[in-house]
């Protein structure tokens, strides 16, 4: 059903997979502890003069990035899901000229592997309330079928 809704139209999703030879507790901590996050967050040459994270569901986060030219970039969001050390979901939007831009959702999955952690990052550009509803419909009808079957 969700397939029909998107109809193969690329849903403007960013999908990246990385492997780190470290336990996922450690990788997860690098995402959820400000003192660690500022060490790697942002492109090369950027540093983070400001980082605030209220790591709990519905808690907000914000970081200011400053590039080599001294230009600052502000990005913020709130946490939607925190499942230590397996999954982190948060919203994301840049603020420019005092206006918070289009909000996206970032999902980071930390999968335990024999030799470390597989990190899967997905960023979706659109609110998917409608597609969630469609999923729910899908589920409800499956459950109806199950009920009938029983």
């Amino acid at each position: 059903m969700a397939e029909a809704a998107t109809g193969g139209m690329p849903d403007r999703v960013l999908h990246l997979v990385r492997h780190y030879p470290h336990p996922r507790e450690r990788v997860f901590a690098a995402w959820t502890e400000p003192a660690q996050l500022v060490k790697w967050w942002g492109p090369k040459g950027v540093h983070i003069p400001h980082c605030q994270m209220d790591v709990r569901v519905d808690g907000s986060w914000e970081t200011t990035m400053r590039n080599e030219d001294g230009r600052e970039f502000f990005v913020s969001g709130r946490y939607l899901e925190i499942t230590r050390p397996a999954r982190l979901v948060f919203t994301w939007a840049w603020t420019s000229d005092g206006e918070r831009g289009h909000e996206t959702t970032v999902t980071v999955e930390f999968n335990e592997k024999r030799d470390g952690t597989e990190l899967v990052l997905t960023q979706t550009l659109f609110e998917t309330n409608e597609s969630r509803d469609l999923h729910n419909e899908g589920w409800s009808s499956s459950l109806d079928c199950l009920a009938e079957h029983l």
């Binding site: 029909a4 809704a5 998107t6 109809g7 193969g8 139209m9 849903d11 403007r12 960013l14 990246l16 990385r18 780190y20 470290h22 336990p23 507790e25 450690r26 990788v27 997860f28 901590a29 690098a30 003192a35 660690q36 060490k39 790697w40 967050w41 942002g42 492109p43 090369k44 420019s96 831009g101 289009h102 996206t104 990190l119 990052l121 960023q123 550009l125 659109f126 609110e127 998917t128 409608e130 597609s131 469609l134």
Partner: protein, 113 residues
């Protein structure tokens, strides 16, 4: 394209029905009736979606014989792809730096993991 135009494009696309309409138009021109067919929606409802897409310059409408046909206009989508590639760059570099950070010997700040 100004950021404001990008916002218009993004909000036009922030709807599964409208994305499905665009997906249908990728395979060629269509009339409103043809576009409405897969949906459990009235023609006026579909027309409303089409107006949003037209305003965002994501579709063009042309008249051919007596039919009003919709076609896909790819430019705003290309702009989104460029915008998206900046996100890709952000994450690729960040995740690379994360690897370097994790590979460093544990210090006071990161040895709790």
């Amino acid at each position: 394209m100004t950021p404001d135009t990008l916002s218009i494009t993004l909000s036009a696309l922030a709807d599964p029905t409208r994305r499905a309409i665009l997906a249908r138009l990728r395979s060629g021109k269509a009339t409103v009736g043809e576009l409405a067919e897969p949906f459990d929606m009235s023609l006026p409802a579909i027309s409303k979606h089409l107006r949003v897409l037209e305003k965002a310059a994501l579709i063009n409408r042309e008249t051919e014989a007596q039919w009003r046909l919709c076609t896909l206009a790819p430019e705003p989508l290309e702009e989104i792809d460029r915008w998206l590639s900046r996100y890709r760059e952000f994450w690729e570099q960040s995740l690379g730096r994360l690897g370097e950070y994790l590979d460093q010997p544990a210090t006071e700040e990161n040895e709790d993991g």
